[in-house]
């Protein structure tokens, strides 16, 4: 399958503050293709440019140089902005600041209403979207009475109802508790695997990135690593050097290797780690 989003040598900087000093590039000469139907995690510490990158995908940010294309459409062409946002939906970090209506189902309907979808079809889309994120029973609830994870799932339903082919989530779990995080990640995986929606997940949680097909690591506006979770996490030293973390299982393997123990460096979770250690002990 082809790429739905294409970054071609893209740079971007934010406008200078009042003092007029030019800010450094937030995204620096990035080239990246996002394959249709894939699940890509973008990792990076705060200020690494990962959120800026996300906002370049649907014409919130327009590149200073280089070109971003979505389904062949150039994001710098204002006439295409609407069409681009019908293709790439976005979910933000703070669940409160993206829900516009006082009732859950009205909020999910907001996007399709803006697109001018006929009423009966909106109803259908809203019900389907709420079922997809497992929030159908809360359709009549008031958003402020929901938990963070539930609100975030409503926000995701709002994007699904627009039937975008790609969804970009900018640190959707940063403000949630562990249960909320689990709910949201499970929902995202389902969108990708069952509905075939392309997912770009911006995060700094390693355990979330592990679930993706591909992990892109950013530092100082550049892409410094790009590969499968296994490839990326096996280089734990490099990740830690740019302010990131690796799962404890991977850390343990790395620490053992340093002491000269022959163990695989790409262990992602505890079960793989337990298997590997048992293997070691048996062969001893």
């Amino acid at each position: 399958m082809g790429n739905i989003i294409e970054f071609d040598n893209v740079s971007f900087r934010y406008e200078a503050d009042i003092e007029g000093e030019m800010l450094p590039l937030a995204v620096d000469s990035v080239s990246l293709g996002i394959e249709q139907g894939s699940f890509v995690a973008v990792l990076g510490h705060n200020g690494s440019g990962k959120s800026t990158l996300a906002k370049l995908t649907n014409a919130i940010n327009i590149p200073e140089s280089g070109k971003v294309t979505v389904d062949g459409m150039d994001t710098s062409d204002e006439k295409l902005t609407d069409a681009i946002r019908r293709t790439v939906g976005m979910v933000f970090q703070n669940p409160d600041n993206q829900i516009v209506a006082t009732i859950v189902e009205d909020d999910v309907a907001f996007g399709p209403e803006n697109l001018g979808v006929p009423p009966a079809e909106i109803r259908q889309r809203v019900d389907d979207a709420l079922k997809a994120v497992n929030m159908f029973e809360f359709r009549k609830s008031e958003p402020h009475k929901l938990s963070g994870g539930q609100k975030q799932r409503v926000a995701i339903a709002g994007v699904i109802a627009m039937q975008t082919s790609c969804i970009v989530l900018d640190e959707p779990t940063a403000m949630l508790d562990p249960n909320g995080r689990r709910e949201v990640i499970a929902t995202i995986k389902k969108l990708n695997k069952e509905m075939g929606i392309t997912v770009i997940l911006v995060t700094h949680f390693m355990d979330e990135a592990v679930q993706a097909d591909r992990v892109v690591v950013m530092d100082k506006g550049r892409i410094i690593m790009d590969g499968t979770p296994r490839e990326v996490f096996s280089e734990s030293d490099r990740l830690i050097a740019v302010g990131l973390d690796v799962p404890q299982a991977t850390q343990l393997a790395a620490a053992l290797i340093k002491k000269g123990v022959q163990i695989s460096s790409d262990l992602l979770d505890e079960n793989e780690c337990i298997d590997a250690v048992c293997e070691l002990l048996r062969s001893k």
């Binding site: 649907n58 919130i60 609407d82 946002r85 019908r86 939906g89 976005m90 933000f92 703070n94 409160d96 600041n97 993206q98 829900i99 516009v100 209506a101 006082t102 009732i103 189902e105 009205d106 309907a109 907001f110 996007g111 399709p112 209403e113 803006n114 697109l115 001018g116 979808v117 006929p118 009423p119 909106i122 109803r123 809203v126 008031e142 958003p143 402020h144 009475k145 709002g158 994007v159 627009m162």
Partner: protein, 270 residues
Amino acid sequence: MKGIAIGQYYPGKSLLHKMDPRVKILLTLVFVFLIFFCKNFWALGLMGSFLLIGMLISGVPFKMLIRSLRAILFIVLITAVLNLFYVTDGNVLFPNTFIKITDKGLYTAIFMTVRIACLIIGSSLMTFTTTPTMLTDAIERLLSPLKIFKIQVHTLAMMMTLALRFIPTLMEEIEKIMNAQKARGADLESGNIIDRAKALVPILVPLFVSSFRRAYELAFAMECRCYTGGNGRTRMKQMKLSWLDLLFGFAMTSILAGVILLNHYFAHLI
């Protein structure tokens, strides 16, 4: 804080709940007008019984309806007292004491009080049976003819919806900020007015900062969902007139006729 209700909607499935909100708003306006049009107890009694039927149909507990009066209790009392003492014609009730209250004054006071009570309960009945979203939607649709005067009806309605949406969020936020500053020893309870006003600064500044940030993020989120104003939008929830609305409209018309008739027939207050 999660218990805050937006507006004062009371969920239910009564006929009043099912009525088209546009009709409900119009009928409420007619009702308010008629209340002021009533010239005597007979007419007011007719209105009162109509209201009572409405209250019964709505299924909203009487207690809650009566409670909506509490907010304006002060105004009601002032009106009653003023009428009681300022209306001086009529027969003096307690001739041998210094209290100069006339029977006419007493009637007027009661009349006024009942009138305000009917007014408040009548309009609360509308807000109790209509969700805030329906209400703003209906207002938008009712005012849509104003578009020809280039008035941005949709924008106004959107602003109302967003305000309703964010009131509970901001209430929660105020509570959080207050607690945080209290934990740093802020004294919000004592001192004179100036001290208290000064004590608000540590609460208002963070509140404004965060409200602006919210507004900014919300605007982004709305743009990402292809919001470009009212043009070309459709609505999931359609409003359709039904026999029910006709029925209520007919009832209101007959009451209008009744009030005119009673006003004409009885020249005096009682």
